[in-house]
Amino acid sequence: MANPMNQFEVKTIGPKIEIGNFDISFSNASLFMVITVATISLLFIFATQKKSLVPSRLQLLAEMAYEFVAKMISETAGSKARPYFPFILTLFLFVLFCNMIGMIPYSFTVTSHIIVTFALAIFIFIGVTIIGFVKHGFGYLKLFVPSGVPVVLLPIIVVIEVISYLSRPVSLSVRLFANMMAGHTMMKVFGGFVISLGLVGGWLPLGFSVALTGLEILVAFLQAYVFAILTCIYLNDALNLHH
C-alpha cells in the first residue's frame, strides 16, 4: 500500500531559487496556491463584470459569498469590522478554495500543511493584537481581566486568559491543518484498501471512500467557515473589548 502521507510531500518544480539564504523554490504547494488564487480571481472578476440588476448565476454566486461573509462579520464583530471585510472575504475564499481544490484527485491540499495555516493564524493573531492596542491602548489588557471575578481568583483567571489568548494562533492553525490532513489521509487509506482487497472485498472501503468524499467536502467548507468566523470573533475582541 502506498504511504498515505506521500500526498502531502512538497516537491520542488523547476530550478531551486534562493534569495540570500532563503529558499523560495516553486513547488507543487506553490503551484496550488497560484491555482487557487487564479481560480478565485478569475471567477470573481468574471462574475462581477456586468454588475447587472438581475444577477446572472455566476454573479449571484459571488454575491452569495459576499453576503455570507458580510452576515458573518456583522453578527460576530458588528459594524466596526467593516474595514476588515475584504481581508475576511479573502481569507474565507482562500481557505475554502484551497480546501475544495484539494478535494480533486491527485491535487495538493495547501491547507494540509501546518506551516501555511500557522502563517495565516499568526498573521491574524499579530494583526488583531495590533488593532486591539491601537484602538484601546493599554486598556486592551482589560481583555485578560474578566469583570465580576472575585479578587482572590483574579491571578489565576488572568494567567488562564493570557494562555488562552496566546494559544489562539495554535488552536486556529492546528484545527484547520489537522482536519485537512486527517481527512485526506483517511481517504487515501480507504482508497488503498479498495486496491488491496480487490474485486472481492474492495466494495466496502469503496463505499466508505464515497461517503468520506461527501464528508470531506462538508469539512472543507466547515473549516473555512470556522477559520473565518474565529477570525471575526478575535477581531470583535480587539474592536469592541467586551469580554
Binding site: V10, I40, E63, V116, A119, N179
Partner: protein, 190 residues
C-alpha cells in the same frame, strides 16, 4: 464525535507516517518557500479582492438595494394615493347618495302636490258634472212629466172625442185634471 474520530485517525495516521519517514509537514526545509509563496499569492488575492471584486460587489448589491428601496418607496406613495382616492370615492358616493335621496324626496313632494291639485280639480269637475247631470236629470224629469201630461191630455181628449162625446171638452179642463191626477200619482210615487 466527528472531531474525536478525525483526531483518532489523525493520530493513527501520524503514527503510521512516523514509521515510514514521518510527516512531510514537519520538514523545516519546506517551510520557507511555502511561507514565501503564501505571502505572494495571498497578498495578490487580497489586492484583487479589495481593489476589484469587493468594490464591484458592494456597488452592485448597494445599487440593487437602492433600486428595491426606491420601488418600495414608490409603492408606499402609490398606496397612500390609492387610499386618498378611495376615500374621495367613498365621499363622492355618500354625497351622491344623499343628493339622490334629496331629489327623490323633493320629487315625491312635488308629485304629491301636483297629484293633489289634479285630484282636487278632477273632484271639482266631477262634482260640477254631477250637478249638471243632476240638473239635466231633474229638468228631464220635469220636462218628461210635462210631455207626458200633454200627450196624456191630448190622448184623453182624442179618446173622449172618439167615444162619441160630441161636446168638445175644454182642453184646459183635461189638462188640469191630468195635472191633478199626475200630481197625485207623483205624490204617491214620491
Amino acid at each position: 464525535m466527528l472531531r474525536v474520530l478525525i483526531f483518532s485517525i489523525f493520530a493513527s495516521s501520524a503514527a503510521f507516517a512516523a514509521e515510514s519517514g514521518g510527516m512531510p509537514q514537519l520538514d523545516p526545509n519546506s517551510w520557507v518557500p511555502q511561507i514565501f509563496w503564501l505571502i505572494i499569492t495571498f497578498g495578490g488575492l487580497y489586492i484583487v479582492i479589495s481593489k476589484i471584486v469587493f468594490p464591484r460587489l458592494s456597488e452592485s448589491i448597494e445599487q440593487r438595494n437602492d433600486y428595491v428601496s426606491d420601488l418600495v418607496d414608490e409603492a408606499k406613495t402609490l398606496a397612500e394615493k390609492t387610499e386618498k382616492l378611495n376615500n374621495e370615492y367613498k365621499e363622492l358616493i355618500s354625497n351622491s347618495k344623499k343628493e339622490a335621496q334629496e331629489t327623490i324626496t323633493n320629487g315625491r313632494k312635488k308629485l304629491n302636490a301636483e297629484f293633489d291639485k289634479k285630484k282636487n280639480e278632477l273632484d271639482k269637475n266631477i262634482s260640477e258634472l254631477t250637478e249638471k247631470a243632476e240638473k239635466e236629470i231633474q229638468s228631464f224629469k220635469s220636462n218628461s212629466i210635462k210631455d207626458v201630461q200633454t200627450i196624456a191630455s191630448q190622448v184623453s181628449g182624442e179618446l173622449l172625442k172618439e167615444l162619441s162625446l160630441n161636446d168638445e171638452i175644454d182642453q184646459n179642463i183635461i189638462i188640469k185634471k191630468i195635472e191633478d191626477i199626475s200630481k197625485k200619482k207623483m205624490g204617491e210615487l214620491n
